[in-house]
């Protein structure tokens, strides 16, 4: 009896050790190089792991991101250096504290002693903040970036270094940490590049104990001579019309200048003199240039006050559907007022484009397939929240969608607009923290039976018939007050 419990207890003990063992000590990092490209609201981090397999048939390589790094990472893709096909990355179940682990499946298993280079590209959002937090119209703009000093990894690392590159030459200050993994200077600066490292012989660090004891925060204070923009909310609606062979895309954009708050009042005199002497303040946004799809027409740009006429559009002719062309329609738009730090501007931008540029007819399945871009990317800008609505023609059935990356929420509902009776099926996708890496196309395949196409004309015909019936009845009703004798 006791023997049974003893053996099951030891089995239980063995099973509880599995999570620690399955991180697998089947690899060793010969070198890790992390390159951080500083930016305004989006920071791109590229980490190259030079790995050596210690066991035969090593297939899964695990990387670790610190807690704060994981919270701010909104895009992660892993590739073998030199190749362009992304590898399959799976996020492990996290227990809430400690670093977040990701399992990368290698394209072919590595034999013991073989090496390979894995490149992990991530985009981090909201990791910089303006410092000082207030600036007058004449002042410059500086941002602070904070990160963890050491790159975490469940495997031992022979040497690792972090390079932080600022887009503008002026770096005001940076943390000079005390690090036990190096005998030389822990950080060196060369122009606009800071190098933290090389740090040698860092043991496996992907656990909460290491994070608490050995990990440090570093901060870089750098000047940034471009406005830091974020779109707090983007509501995009794409409406497909079969009668008019048209795809209408309408964006409601809530734009915010996430730079230092304006100190004092806004002086139009100062603004005009800056424009005259061509010395604009770095944190002021006078206007935006957007690259819209080719082949669009009837573009409208209005806000809550009305139409905004300060815009210039150069359209490009249509390109065939699905082609990765570099032809864009260029729209230079100017908000009603220059956006100073902390200011918001909300506007609506929309256009029509021929449906042949975005949709096709799949004869085999009898379905139409339409491709809708998720957003119009503004370089270096983060979209905090997006709601994308794809409105299909009335009576669409068998709706299937294919997205390049999963949305946070997806919903199918009904949208009612002009001349609708039963309403149009609408797919709604919700996203958070989108960057320029998230520019993709969602494909939707749907059926529309022939009778559904006739719904609208029949609805109008029924209304008109109602009027005729009313006239018919009216002719036969005597409404005179005094009867004719």
């Amino acid at each position: 009896m006791l023997g049974f419990w003893r053996s099951s207890y030891s089995l239980f003990l063995l099973i509880s050790l599995v999570p620690y063992v399955s991180a697998g000590h089947s690899f060793e990092n010969t070198a890790i190089v992390r390159t951080v490209e500083l930016g305004g609201s989006v920071v791109h981090v590229t980490t190259t792991y030079a790995v050596k397999a210690l066991e035969d048939d090593s297939k899964i390589y695990t990387i670790a991101l610190g807690e704060r790094e994981h919270d701010s990472t909104s895009w992660l893709v892993a590739k073998i250096k030199g190749e362009s096909t992304p590898l399959s990355v799976e996020e492990r179940e996290s227990n809430g504290n400690g670093p977040q682990l990701y399992d990368i499946k290698l394209p072919s298993p590595l034999m013991s002693g073989r090496t390979t280079n894995i490149v992990v590209e991530t985009a981090q959002t909201h990791v910089t903040y303006p410092y000082p937090e207030e600036a007058s119209q004449k002042d410059g703009q500086s941002l602070k970036y904070e990160a963890d000093l050491l790159v975490l990894s469940p495997y031992d690392t022979a040497v690792q270094r972090t390079k932080i590159r600022s887009p503008f030459p002026q770096i005001h200050s940076y943390t000079e940490p005390e690090v036990e993994y190096t005998q030389d200077a822990p950080v060196t600066k060369s122009g606009a590049t800071l190098t933290y490292g090389p740090y040698k012989n860092v043991p496996g660090s992907a656990n909460a104990r290491f994070a608490a004891e050995k990990q440090q925060r570093i901060a870089v204070h750098f000047s940034y001579d471009q406005p830091v923009l974020e779109i707090t909310k983007l509501e995009r609606a794409a409406e497909v019309s079969h009668w008019g062979a048209n795809l209408n895309i309408q964006d409601n954009i809530h734009l915010r200048n996430a730079g230092p708050r304006l100190k004092g009042h806004f002086s139009r005199l100062e603004q005009q003199s800056q424009a005259f002497f061509q010395k604009p303040a770095p944190h002021m946004l006078p206007g935006l240039t957007l690259l819209l799809p080719a082949g669009i027409h009837d573009v409208y740009f209005y806000d809550i006050v009305g139409n905004v006429s300060t815009s210039k559009l150069r359209t490009a002719p249509s390109v065939p559907k699905g082609s990765q062309s570099n032809q864009f329609s260029v729209l230079e738009l100017k908000p009603r007022y220059p956006l100073m730090g902390g200011w918001n501007y909300s506007f609506t931008l929309g256009w029509d484009s021929p449906l042949a540029d975005s949709a096709g007819w799949d004869r085999e399945r009898g379905k139409w397939v339409v491709g809708v871009p998720i957003m119009t990317t503004i370089p270096g800008t983060v979209v905090n929240e997006e709601e994308l609505k794809i409105i299909l023609p009335e009576g669409a059935t068998n709706i299937e969608f294919f997205e390049p990356f999963p949305a946070i929420e997806t919903e199918l509902s009904t949208h009612i607009t002009y001349l609708d009776t039963t309403g149009r099926p609408t797919l709604t996708f919700s996203y958070k923290n989108l960057t320029d890496k998230h520019s993709g196309i969602i494909y939707v395949a749907y059926n529309v039976p022939f009778s559904a196409h006739l719904k609208k004309p029949i609805a109008v015909a029924t209304a008109l018939m109602g009027l005729f019936v009313l006239a018919f009845v009216w002719k036969r009703v005597d409404t005179r007050i005094q009867k004719q004798k």
């Binding site: 992304p86 399959s88 409406e239 019309s241 079969h242 009668w243 008019g244 062979a245 048209n246 209408n248 009837d298 065939p320 559907k321 699905g322 082609s323 029509d352 449906l355 042949a356 540029d357 975005s358 949709a359 096709g360 007819w361 799949d362 004869r363 139409w368 397939v369 339409v370 491709g371 294919f402 997205e403 390049p404 002009y418 001349l419 196309i441 494909y443 395949a445 609208k456 004309p457 029949i458 609805a459 109008v460 015909a461 029924t462 008109l464 018939m465 005729f468 019936v469 006239a471 018919f472 002719k475 036969r476």
Partner: protein, 82 residues
């Protein structure tokens, strides 16, 4: 991901959407149909009362159908793509 790549290449390969009625013709179709609707509605108003309203019903339903398609064509030519 393979699913996504498959639909992306399918989307590129299949023939582009083409409507049964060319969009450039819609304004003219709208004009013709709505003129016919107006004429028939006028004719309806001149019809005498009769015991079995066959003619009235026929004129009214033709005018309604033509008017239905005419209004849809009108909306599309005005820029409200239904």
């Amino acid at each position: 991901m393979a699913d996504y790549d498959a639909i992306a290449s399918l989307h590129k390969a299949i023939p582009p959407f083409s409507p049964s009625i060319p969009v450039a013709l819609l304004p003219y179709i709208a004009f013709l149909l709505l003129t016919a609707t107006f004429a028939l509605a006028f004719y309806f108003s001149t019809l005498p009362k009769s015991a079995l309203p066959i003619r009235e019903f026929a004129v009214a339903s033709t005018a309604s159908i033509l008017g239905g398609f005419g209004v849809v064509a009108l909306f599309n030519s005005a820029g409200v793509y239904l």
